[in-house]
Every structure is written in structure tokens, then in C-alpha cells.
Symmetry: D3
Subunit: 143 residues, 6 copies
């Protein structure tokens, strides 16, 4: 299959990159400990400035240790947020990618099922709360 | 309160309209059997061509009898679809407006609760089906 | 095709189930009058507690007669809500499944077209009402 | 303020309930360790069957210990999923409610900021992956 | 492949249409300067009234010059709005179709990347603003 | 009104900031040519790293000239994308903020109406294309 035709915007081939894009591709593989560059990054690479911006943000938030930062959440929880958002939006690529990542980190099928059950539950209650036009409960001051 | 300041785009005041906009405002009140022009139409009236386009489509689909057309769905079912879509999107104005319209047509609070319960349920199953990346069941030909 | 590989979470094979899952699978086929277990339920079956919870809710709301309850909406209207929600969310599996179910109940292509036209219309008006920041019309007390 | 007028569907007053609804209201306060019944449940109480169904599912998933079940996720992670879903859907009531719940469990403002940053990030990448029409990376068998 | 089986609702074959549908099909090809009728219109053609309604609205807004109207936006900007909406909703057919149309009008891959980057950015900030429950900044009167 | 109580997460007061946050606040006012710091940034400032990340991305994409970069889209088109995304998501704060910004750049009410009409139209066609399960038209290679 001609891989470069899968998306309307062609995928950048890892073998053909140099300079900043090559550095980011290498950083993605090293940081994520994978041996290929996922299609998401290969498409973004058609716009190197965008590739850098998205990778910088994602690296900072999802791999903080790689930039000497700290996270108050553990890595699996961070992937769980990604799964919950992606299931809510119905983004097929993203669900596939984050499910794979979370399972690689040790999230079991049973736990994944629980994540999706909870995400599903709150998609239900969100529609109910909006549909019934419910105003927030009175809030006490936070301090 | 200065009513014309409620939205960033000011509401067109019913008392000040003439020509096509006045005709459509009158048609909205007559067709919907209400004695005021809802804010939605008063905002659209800032763009008369858009007002006409949206009203023509909505009148054809929601009040087909007014244009000599027929519907295969009854009026309450059509409002129920509006409620289900608006609860799913979380559109506050729309939920308020369609709930009011449906209740005026005789939808009871119990039935409204059932509509929202079902809309909520399928927002849940949608997230589950997407989250689990489930492909459609094999489809037999329709004929 | 290796059916169990279609989703990241494998489908539970109907032939291999026992106990509670087998009972629910049988109940799904009997209640829905179908001769196979849809993939949605075969995926949920990887988490039996979740399978039971979702099936109990869906059976209660979509097949109330099967649990001795009553609905204020007719069965076709309930499927129409499912279609409207699923089209709004763009859930491919769900649209496919509920379209099939509604047509089996007698919803014609013409009526399906009308359901989708109305769902489409209100996705448009939802974006307009939100985009114009329109506040709800004054509400009279309901009683 | 006349509290029963806040939503189109009136809120059920805690002081006036008996039977099943009173039992569920008491269970909600006991299980969630709060001294009032949130509006969400007071609206659902207009449909006791729906109140029971939603509470049963939510109690099972969010308070499993109360029904003798176990969760593979800790309580704070479960609330984090609720926040991520609600921020993605833009459900104001739900965001307010789950933020409050998570903070009560010890989620700091800094950690909440991180949850929202990650939820925001993946709303961005979801739109990018969909917008670029990217197909999932090749999946190795899971076993 | 049996083209008429691709969607649950069969595609209307261009060779078999007469009357109003044939006229609209011809108008679509002429107005859009394409030599085939896209599947979207071939499905809508199963409901000729709906086909006419959607085409009339789309022609008026996206091809105003064809009906003697004027637009305050240039054609490429109008397609860019279509792409931004479709990427936000994750509508695969629509993204594919509007990306193709915009590129045909001269939108380069680099510019498409910028459109998607900006659409992605605001999907992120939308989730942040909703997630943090931020109220609008004080609005000065518009005049 | 006690401004710091509007959101659950308190707004950072411009008068009390120093260091990096003060620098970013000044940069926001200078780059956007406004004389106050919008609430969005004042909430993000509770997490300085997140404030910096979001501002860096937004500044690069929406104010490229301020970082010596170039855009292939004009500033008004970039705000139009923001409006289209925000109307689709129904994010009230964002719609308010981007409508104000676009009008300040010269977008007239008539043009804003056209932006929203087109955004509305494609929210409708997105639901139709998804609801009818339409597969993309055959794509010719792009080169």
C-alpha cells in the first residue's frame, strides 16, 4: 500500500526527514519508547512549526519527567484522561492510540472497561443536566 | 433592562420592522400560535436573508401543514427530536425553547423525563461504542 | 476474518459464555427478537458487571414491556431519539444499529430522511443560538 | 428565591418526599457524605424510576465500596474522568459538581489545572487527528 | 462494488433521475464545477424535498454569486469555516469533502495545516474555558 | 462583587503578580492591544506553566507577527475560525471573546451573521452526513 496516500495530507516518511523534523521524530521515539513514528506526528510534520508546537505541549504535559518537570498525576491517570476525552469526542485515531498507550502502561482490560463505563456514565448525566436545565448547586467559598 | 443589549448582536425590535422582516415576524407568530417573536428570530433578523432561509427550512420541517406539505412524523415527535439534539449539544436556549414548545403540545413532565432519560442513555452508549472502537455489525441488504 | 481482533478489546464469543453473561446474551436476543448478539454487547461482556448495568438500563428504557413497566412514548419514537442523538454525536456504530432497528419497526426511508432532516436542522439552530449568545426567552411559571 | 422555579422541570423538595424517593435521597446524602440533595437528583426525582436507574448506575461506578464491589481505579481518578468528560462536553452543572467533589477528595488547584490542561490538549489533538483524516496506526494483536 | 449498498439508505443513481432531482443534480455539478454528483447529494435525493431545501441553503451561502447574491466573505474563507466545523465535529465525510474543495480553490497544504492548527487550538481553549467555569469578561456596549 | 469568587478556581489579580506571570500578563495586553487581562488568562495564571504553554501556542498561531513568524491566513480569518469552532462547541466565554475580537478587527454584524450562518449550515450537513452513514467520495491522488 502506498502509505503516503492514506491521508489527504500525505504522511511524511521518516526516512526522508532532516533537521528539526528529524530531531523531533527521534525525540518522539525516545520519549515514548516506541520504534516507529505514529501517523499523527508524520502528518503534523508537513508543518514543522505546528509539529514542534504540539509536541512541545504534549511532551510537557504527558512526559514531564523528560523536560525536568513534575506532574501531580501519575502517567496512567494522564492517559486515562486522554481516553475519556477521545471517547467523548468519538475520535477514532485518538482512542486507538491512547488505549494502546494505556494498556502498554499496565492498564488492564478490566480497568479500561471501568474507564469507559465511567466516561459513558458522565456523558449520560451531562445530557441529563443540560436537558433539565439545572443550575449549579450553591457554592460555598473555596477558601 | 435594555433588551437590545442582551446579546452582542442586538435583538431586532418587533415594533421597528417593516417589509420582509415584518412579514416573517407575523408568519412566525401566526404559524407557531404565539404572541411574541422569540429572541432567536429577533437576532437572525439582523440578517434578513438568513432569517428567511432558516425560517423557510424550519417552517417546512416543523410546520409542514402551513406550507401544504405532509409529515410522516407527528408534531410532538418532531419536537422530541429537537429536545434530544439540543440536550446532546447542551444548547441552553434551544432546550428551553423546545421543552416549552413540547409541553405546550401536551408532552407531560413524565414523558419529558423519559425523552431525556433515553437521550442520556444513548449519549452513554455512543461514548461506549466509540470508546471500544466497535465496528458495525454485518448489514444485510435492505431490500 | 478473526472476529475477536476487530476491536482492541476482543469480542466475547457467544459460544464460550456461561452463567450471568450467557443469561444476558439470551435475554438480549429474546427481548430484541434477533438471532445474534450485536458486537456492542459482546465487547461489554468483557466486563460482566458493566454488561449487566448497561443492559438493565437499556432494557428498562427501550423495552419497558419486558420488565412490566410502561412507556409514555411508542417504540418507534424511542428509536428515533436514539437516531437523533447518534447522528448528533456522529457515532457510526450507533447510527447503523439504531437505523436498522427503527427500519425493522417500520420506519420508512422517507420517515428516516425526515428524522435526519429535523436532527440536522436543530444542529444548525443550536450552533446559531450558541453563536449569537442568545439568552432564553422569558419563562412563565409552568403551573 | 422560589427554588422550585429554577428549572423548567421543578425540583422535588427534600422535605416533601416519602417512600422510594426518600430512601434514595437519604442514600445519596449518606453515600456522598453531604448534607443536602444536589439539584441533579432533585430534578430526576420527578421520575422516580429514572432517579433509581441513574443513582444505581452512578453508585455502582463511583461508590463501588457502598455496594460491596471493587474498583480498579481510585476515587480521585474516577472524579477526574468525570471532570474530563464534562469539560469536553461543556456541561456547566457537571463541571461545577465534579470539580467540587474532586477538590473535597483532596485534588489541589494545581492538580485540577493539570487535569484541565491535559483534557484541553486532547481536545486539540482530537480535532487535529480528525481534521487530517488520520487512520489508526497498525495494531499488533493484543495477546 | 455495488455502489447502491454503501450506505444503509441507498444512493440515488445519477443515471436514473428525472424531474426536480435531475435538475438539482445538474445544478450541483454546474455550480460546483464538478463532473459527478457527490454521495451526500445522492443520499439526500431519496427525499427530494430535503434535497431541495439543503441545496437551496448551501447554494445561497456557499455559492451566492449563482443566485445573484453577495457575500462579505471570500469563497476560500467560507470553505475554511466548513473545515473548522467539520474537524470540530469529527465528521469524516465532511472533512474529506471540504478539504478537497478548499484545496481545489488554492488552499495550500501549509495553509490547511494552519487552519487545522487554529481549529485545534480553540478546541483546547474551549475545553479550558468551560472546564474552569469562566464567565465572560465585562462587555462594553457595541455602539 | 468579589471578583476572585466568580470561578471555582479563583482569578489571579493583575495587581498581585510578579515574575513570569507578570511578564506574560504584560505581553498579553501589549500583543492584543487591550488594557485589561481577560479572565481566561487570569484563571490559567493559577498554573504558571500552563499559562505559558497556552499563551505561547496562541501567540504563535494568532499573533505570528509578534514572534517574527508569518501566517498564510489574514487575522480576521483566524478569528473567524475561532468563532466557528466556539459556536460548534457552544463555549459561551469563547464565543463572547472571539466575537468581540473579530468585531474590533472590523468584522461587521452582517459578516458575523454570515460566519454563523455558514457554521450553522455545516453543523446541519455534518449531522446529515453522519446520520446517513455516507462514505467519502472516491479521492484522486492529490499530486
Amino acid at each position: 500500500m502506498d502509505d503516503s496516500r492514506v491521508a489527504t495530507v500525505p504522511l511524511v516518511d521518516e526516512a526522508n526527514v532532516t533537521g528539526k523534523v528529524a530531531d523531533i521524530f527521534a525525540d518522539i521515539k525516545r520519549t515514548k519508547q516506541i520504534d516507529f513514528v505514529p501517523r499523527f506526528w508524520r502528518v503534523l510534520a508537513t508543518n514543522p512549526a505546528q509539529l514542534e508546537m504540539v509536541w512541545t505541549s504534549l511532551k510537557r504535559l504527558m512526559h514531564p519527567e523528560a523536560v525536568g518537570a513534575e506532574s501531580l498525576l501519575d502517567p496512567q491517570t494522564r492517559e486515562i484522561i486522554a481516553i475519556a476525552v477521545s471517547a467523548t469526542n468519538g475520535c477514532n485515531y485518538c482512542i486507538n492510540s491512547h488505549t494502546t498507550a494505556a494498556m502498554k502502561m499496565g492498564l488492564t482490560r478490566e480497568a479500561l472497561g471501568e474507564v469507559l463505563a465511567i466516561a459513558g456514565l458522565f456523558n449520560m448525566t451531562n445530557a441529563l443536566a443540560d436537558g433539565y436545565q439545572i443550575e449549579p448547586d450553591v457554592r460555598p467559598p473555596l477558601e
